[in-house]
């Protein structure tokens, strides 16, 4: 894959305000939104391909930047509410404007992004600067005309969905009906109408009557891409629950429960922690679900609840390091996962700025690195390898040399083309596969 490093939002003061916390393509892939720890959203737009400069095709440039969320203070708990953007989801485009939902731990906001590239000139009562004209100087009437101007992108908050969540929001998902969306926190999932901000319906509630009995939380959730009544949510115990909103108002009873029995030979005190699902994504076809837990990605068939149909090892060499990873908290890192447009390849991040891709058809996998050194513009990415001892080839990295502070938690895949966006701490990398640009 050819790589081009796009945007380095380098936080020189070290405050970490620009650590990227979410990445999302819109439905056409023309726009790419990123959210960061400082509550900002940056939208990139793909340059239209021009025949004159074929090598310049498809570059992403900054389209708009705005402050989505500000830090808040919860007076009742005397705790700060972080402005970090947890998730961004685009709405399907219905007119000239683009809309997206962005959320921090507590509040979801609907933003409308519009372009202005013309402005009216030739008013009768006002002059060019907007001052009222002296009416005695007006001798004839003119019709104002629209003249082109420099493109201006305007972003306005259209809705603010507040006070819906006691716990931290971890996911939002827009329904295929384009009218509703859901937001999930650790214990509850709410259903909102995009036009109504003062109320929401609670559709899942796993909070026990006695908080002492709490042993499981919701970690991610998503609507089915085609069936507007179906959604899935994952838990910290490694299970998936498919729920049907037609069954009852409160979907505490799942329609299907997807759970793989524990492998007794691999049991340890960390078994539960590493089975916790950090991300769940439906395939574009709607037939499969992709889950990420600490060491693997799994493909589940909606029709089979007993076990996944495919399991891929992301970094099994960490299995012997779980105790250290527990101590330094890395074992709680939440990695995301992604499908390509044709559901034939899946991708997820790892440590040392590595990310992994698995081809479901050929069963081949590759490890690539997102770093400044390895991705000068137009550079070809070189596959990397982690050696676990035994034979070590040149350029291999040993497990002990891995940098666990460089983690790729957020990745996104263009909906139709082989273009991926990788967030590595405060850098965004965009890689394109020039050879196989079209999906097949």
């Amino acid at each position: 894959m050819e790589g081009e490093r796009i945007c380095e939002v380098d936080s020189g003061d070290g405050l970490g305000a620009d650590i990227i916390s979410t990445v999302e393509f819109n439905h056409t892939g023309e726009l790419l939104a990123t959210g960061d720890k400082g509550g900002r959203v940056v939208i990139f737009q793909r340059e239209p391909e021009s025949k004159n400069e074929p090598y310049n095709q498809g570059e992403y440039n900054v389209y708009s930047t705005f402050q989505s969320h500000e830090p808040e203070f919860d007076y009742l708990k005397s705790l700060e509410i972080e402005e970090k953007i947890n998730k961004i989801k685009w709405l399907p485009q219905q007119n000239a404007a683009h809309s997206l939902l962005s959320t921090n731990d507590k509040t979801i906001k609907l933003w409308k992004i519009t372009e202005r590239d013309k402005r009216p000139e030739g008013y009768n009562l006002k002059d060019e600067e907007g001052k009222l004209k002296d009416l005695s100087t007006v001798t004839s009437l003119q019709v104002p005309v629209l003249k082109p101007m420099d493109l201006m992108v305007e972003v306005t908050p259209r809705r603010i969905f507040a006070n819906g969540h006691t716990y931290h929001v971890n996911s939002i998902s827009v329904n295929s009906d384009c009218e509703t969306y859901m937001s999930a926190d650790d214990l509850r999932i709410n259903l909102w109408h995009l036009a109504i901000t003062d109320r929401s319906f609670n559709i899942v509630d796993i909070k026990p009557a006695n908080m002492e009995d709490l042993t499981e939380v919701i970690t991610a959730s998503e609507f089915h891409p085609h069936h507007c009544n179906l959604f899935v949510y994952s838990s910290s115990k490694g299970s998936l629950r498919l729920c049907d909103m037609r069954a009852s108002a409160l979907c505490d009873k799942h329609s299907k429960l997807y759970e793989e029995p524990e492998d007794p030979s691999n049991r340890s005190f960390f078994s539960e922690i590493i089975s916790s699902v950090s991300d769940v994504k439906f395939s574009h076809s709607g037939r499969y679900m992709l889950t990420r837990d600490y060491l693997t990605v799994k493909v589940w068939d909606l029709n089979m609840e007993t076990k996944p149909v495919e399991t891929y090892q992301v970094h099994d060499y960490l299995r012997s390091k779980l105790c250290s990873l527990y101590e330094n908290d890395c074992i709680f890192d939440k990695f995301e996962c992604a499908w390509n447009g044709s559901d034939s390849v899946i991708m997820t991040g790892a440590y040392n700025n590595f990310f992994r891709m698995f081809d479901r058809n050929t069963k081949r996998d590759v490890t690539l690195e997102a770093s400044r050194e390895s991705s000068k513009p137009r550079a070809i990415l070189k596959p990397r390898r982690v050696c676990v001892g035994g034979k070590r080839r040149k350029d291999d990295i040993s497990v002990d040399s891995l940098d666990f502070t460089k983690k790729i938690l957020h990745t996104a895949w263009h909906p139709t083309e082989n273009i991926i966006a990788i967030a590595a701490t405060n850098n965004l990398y965009i890689f394109q596969d020039k050879v196989n640009s079209e999906m097949h």
Binding site: V217, S320, N328
Partner: protein
């Protein structure tokens, strides 16, 4: 093993693991006696397990110092602690650790008492475990007489296992067990739980006096008790009907104003 970077805060645990003495980490069903053979060279399973328990308890404590604890992480750590304690209960080993003052698990301390377990508890063969690590069961009430000012674990009376959760975490005599690292699991989760504005009175009534000595947990609770005026709280804490274009920043300014009023009163 290669360079010691990043991953090697607990070298002995990983080393033990890599050497293959246990290919599985902390597998409770493995023969414990086998580990005692190399007890001087390699830390025993019990010590490792205890170390993991201690680490987990520290993590649960530390998460309260953060701005707002990550509930998923807390739940996973708490489940790990429960798992360890269940296993220790089945093994019949309860150990009081004095790591705060000494900095290390003090083996001498583990063997120091010889207290019988509760009669209702059926113990597994006590002779199974090496003497160095103590096969005793501590009677919780006897413990209180000892100097427990810096204990970390919250071992409780080992009674019938009907509800291990409440037994394990119950503090029968809070005054005796002050110290930075003792709290019950239910109180951990209660502080995470948001009190709705309608139960402001309940919020204050649940404040437990025994925790006023703990500086970690009080960040949330104590500052709430200072607030005092229920009416003012209800005014600004009721869910607001935000106008569609209202800015969070203006909300913050309003709340600043209200807090000024409260503080002055």
């Amino acid at each position: 093993m290669g360079e010691e970077e990043g991953l090697h805060q607990t070298p002995f645990l990983d080393t033990m693991f890599v050497r293959g003495l246990k290919r599985k980490c902390f597998d409770g069903e493995e023969d414990i006696e086998g580990t005692l053979a190399g007890i001087k060279a390699i830390p025993s399973y019990n010590l490792q397990r205890q170390s993991l328990l201690d680490m987990s308890l520290v993590k649960l404590q530390l998460c309260h110092m953060l701005v707002e604890p990550n509930l998923c992480r807390s739940v996973l750590i708490a489940n790990t602690v429960r798992q360890i304690q269940e296993e220790m209960t089945q093994d019949g080993t309860w150990q009081m650790i004095n790591t705060q003052s000494t900095g290390q698990a003090s083996l001498d301390r583990l063997v120091s008492t010889d207290i019988l377990c509760r009669s209702s508890r059926d113990h597994q063969a006590e002779g199974k475990h090496g003497p160095a690590y103590g096969t005793f069961n501590k009677d919780f009430e006897s413990d209180q007489a000892q100097d427990n000012s810096e204990t970390m674990s919250t071992a409780s009376a080992v009674q019938t296992p009907r509800n291990l959760q409440s037994n394990v975490w119950e503090m029968e005599s809070p005054q005796e067990n002050k110290g930075n690292f003792q709290k019950s699991l239910d109180q951990i989760f209660e502080t995470l739980e948001n009190k709705s504005p309608n139960t402001v009175e309940d919020l204050f009534s649940e404040v437990d006096n025994s925790y006023y000595d703990l500086d970690t947990m009080l960040t949330g609770m104590m500052s709430n008790t200072k607030m005092g005026h229920c009416d003012s709280l209800e005014t600004f804490s009721s869910p607001t009907n935000t106008a569609s274009n209202s800015n969070c920043k203006s909300d913050l300014n309003d709340l600043d104003h209200i807090v000024e009023i409260l503080v002055e009163s």
